[in-house]
Subunit: 251 residues, 2 copies
């Protein structure tokens, strides 16, 4: 009885510790005691539904957000109503790091499907990280990793062909899902072809044609948003531009 009370108390209070994505998130590398301190400043947001905004371009920066379940897309609205997709965020990934410097969001973020998120008020996180060195270290790592990810994207947009881009994208999804304990070869894409194309700097039609081609070549089976990867090695080869079609850009 006493035992049960303790358990239910723990279940209520301890969230990060039991969170399925904790190992990918902020708590990584923290002592249990420090995770407790972190939990005290983390808030749960009410679930977002498809299309709901997490924040908008120009909003004052207050908090970082972590996807708990579902997925989020961030994008820069352009003057003429167009948009430019900057990223897709899966469970465990942190959103808003780019806003720290300017104290305002430079992009918008909306849910791609029903999603749950954690909100971490940044001033409190900053404070906490001055007294928990491991948290500071983790923050540096996360910020640095984000830079690394963007550098990867620069590589992709700067010199990869359409074929390489989409293969890279699909593999990247596969790897990120795997880290979250999901199947790396059988998954659902929560974003539209249009959004994928926009993200990769390609036209929708090109994305569509490539999915068809990959399927014809036996690399994957595509059924609308459901993807089954058949030949991971083949995709890897494609994504590195060593395919037979590949011609080296002189640059």
């Amino acid at each position: 009885m006493n035992q049960r009370n303790i358990i239910s108390f723990e279940t209520l209070r301890v969230a990060c510790k039991n969170c399925s994505v904790g190992a990918l998130c902020l708590p990584l590398g923290l002592e249990p005691e420090d995770i407790g301190r972190l939990e005290n400043i983390v808030k749960r947001t009410r679930p977002l539904h498809r299309g709901d905004f997490l924040f908008r371009d120009g909003d004052r920066f207050r908090s970082l957000y972590v996807v708990k379940t579902g997925s989020v897309k961030s994008y820069a609205p352009s003057a003429e109503g167009g948009e430019r997709v900057l990223g897709f965020h899966l469970p465990g990934e942190i959103i808003g790091l780019d806003a720290i410097d300017k104290d305002a969001h430079a992009c918008s973020a909306t849910a791609l499907e029903t999603s749950a998120l954690c909100e971490i008020p940044f001033p409190r996180l900053e404070e906490l990280s001055t007294v928990i060195p491991n948290l500071q270290r983790q923050m540096y790592r996360l910020l640095s990793k984000e830079i690394g990810n963007e550098t990867e994207m620069l590589l992709l947009l700067g010199k990869k062909s359409a074929e390489e881009r989409l293969a890279t994208f699909v593999l990247n999804m596969s790897k990120r899902l795997q880290k979250r304990g999901l199947s790396p070869t059988d998954f659902h894409l929560s974003m539209s072809r249009h959004e994928i194309g926009n993200y990769l700097g390609l036209a929708v039609e090109t994305v569509s044609r490539l999915f068809t081609r990959y399927q014809d070549d036996g690399l994957m089976v595509v059924d609308r948003k459901h993807i089954q990867l058949i030949d991971l090695d083949g995709l890897e080869t494609l994504s590195n531009g060593s395919g037979p079609t590949r011609q080296q850009q002189r640059n």
Copy 2:
């Protein structure tokens, strides 16, 4: 006499405080006393000459570097000997932030001209930033700003035309030089056309043709690596893609 001694002592010990780029660099927002503590861990490297390496792809990550004078290019060497230019670094800019996460450099950095740099051993900086909250804050800002810069580049590579890219690049240089107290309209590019093209995802020939066109259109005067901007507004318009030639990408 006593006075002179103090002065020369100060001159030796105090470096950041008198540094011409201090206001753009790590000391920004620190108390004089804390700047002193920062100076204690900063080392000066021997000057690098054109082509010298600051670090190479794969090197263990030990330090961040700040350009003091000159300029540095960072790039990702690709398997087949090609390279992909990731950035050009001017005085006051910090190099190596992307390596914190993996504890290894994922790109190489070489001097574009004779350059002086400051080396900041990261473990010591990390330590120091746990006891100087303002330093921690400045680190978060710098990392975040770097993310913002890369996002800008994603925008550029993902949806801008060649014309817009080069105009954006030239204006970006202009603004960065201005922040350093140099002329925003009359400057020297330390990198080759090839490197500019590679950085912007364009062929050398395209870069060359565009410079010629800009000059013909009276936007700037180009003499080899020496650039004089004539019509900043015109360039700004071009860089935003509102030019008459511009057609909206549907994405």
